[in-house]
């Protein structure tokens, strides 16, 4: 019933307001394969143990600049939950020694990394108007993805647990209805 009501609300939304990020669910057990790397994605996952590493795989035809951002629901129990991410791949800059040490896995030979450890204080806040939720965010970081394969790794440096979201890409579309497949993950 609730899903039907939400669907009705979304269908009534004027078309010009109905563009949004493509939602997706991240699992630690399976890399997320990005089909259209120019699109804007909002992928959600949950750290159950704090030891997980989530992997997103992309392949760009040419070098491609896009913002990348990680965010956490703005709820008290996640106040100390600060997942980190790294964009890794051939042609990216070599990380510093500290960044290299912070990575959750060794870099493959010849790969570089853009590392965001999400340590800004006070934590920036984001209001997302489609789902009407507040998040703590790392703030968008512009990354130039290399031509060819690359990956985004997400991990929890302090081994904290809880929900998180990873946003990246540029072009918004109408794929938001996929959020209905797992409404509680995206909405609550």
């Amino acid at each position: 019933m609730r899903r039907a009501l939400v669907l009705a609300a979304l269908l009534l939304l004027p078309e010009r307001l109905a563009v949004a990020h493509t939602p997706g669910k991240l699992l630690a057990s399976t890399p997320y394969e990005v089909r259209n790397p120019a699109d804007s994605y909002a992928l959600f996952g949950v750290f159950h143990t704090g030891a997980e590493r989530f992997v997103v795989k992309l392949a760009h035809a040419t070098r491609f600049a896009a913002p990348v951002e990680i965010f956490v629901p703005h709820v008290d129990e996640l106040r100390r939950h600060r997942p980190a991410y790294a964009v890794v791949g051939p042609g990216l800059p070599a990380p510093s020694a500290a960044e290299l040490a912070a990575l959750p896995a060794p870099l493959p030979a010849g790969w570089g990394a853009e590392v965001e450890l999400n340590q800004v204080t006070p934590r920036p806040v984001l209001f997302e108007s489609i789902m009407r939720r507040f998040y703590w965010t790392s703030e968008p970081l512009a990354v130039v993805f290399p031509a060819g394969p690359s990956e985004i790794w997400v991990w929890s440096p302090a081994k904290t647990t809880g929900k998180f979201g990873l946003g990246f890409g540029v072009e918004e579309g109408g794929g938001y209805l996929a959020a209905l497949d797992d409404w509680s993950l995206y909405a609550y």
């Binding site: 009501l5 939400v6 009705a8 939304l13 307001l17 629901p73 703005h74 209001f127 108007s129 009407r132």
Partner: protein
């Protein structure tokens, strides 16, 4: 827990309707009042919050007119925000002399969303509503409404708010 919070008001509406059937009001099911106050309990489905959205409705026309002007201010709390909507609109209440009174309405809405470490978010938009009231006595009614809002400024988005209410004709 959430199911129970929704189910209990629904049960109250059903009980009220049953009670009214057993002891029907006279031919004028509702008192000839200019003002009606209502206390709806609401859950917002997009951006989870729950709370009360008290409202006052004014009948500008003659007795029997379906038209109402509605003003409502809500205070709804959620896991990540405090939601304070302010609504002004028109509502048509049909079959005012009958026990079951359908209603539809539309209007404008200003929504405030508050968290502790960020400036208040203000969004402006419109809403539509549809529902039904059940007269329990000439002055007291219970009912259900569902409202859909579309915010146009301050961040686009659509929301949905089912609510149950008790209303009193002054």
């Amino acid at each position: 827990m959430r199911t129970s919070a929704i189910a209990r008001p629904l049960l109250a509406v059903l009980l009220a309707a049953t009670a009214a059937r057993a002891d029907p009001p006279d031919e004028c099911a509702t008192a000839p009042a200019r003002f009606t106050i209502a206390v709806p309990a609401e859950v917002t489905v997009v951006g989870l919050t729950y709370g009360l959205r008290p409202e006052v409705a004014y009948r500008p026309g003659a007795l029997g007119s379906a038209s109402r002007l509605r003003l409502a201010v809500g205070v709804l709390d959620g896991p990540d925000q405090l939601f304070v909507p302010l609504s002004l609109g028109y509502r048509a209440m049909f079959r005012g002399r009958q026990r079951v009174q359908p209603a539809v309405g539309a209007g404008v809405e200003l929504q405030h969303r508050l968290v502790s470490d960020y400036p208040a978010v203000r969004q402006y938009g419109v809403y539509v509503e549809v529902g039904v009231g059940i007269a329990a006595t000439p002055r007291l009614a219970f009912g259900l409404m569902v409202a859909i809002d579309v915010m146009l400024y301050g961040g686009p988005g659509a929301g949905l708010g089912p609510r149950v209410f008790a209303s009193w004709r002054l």
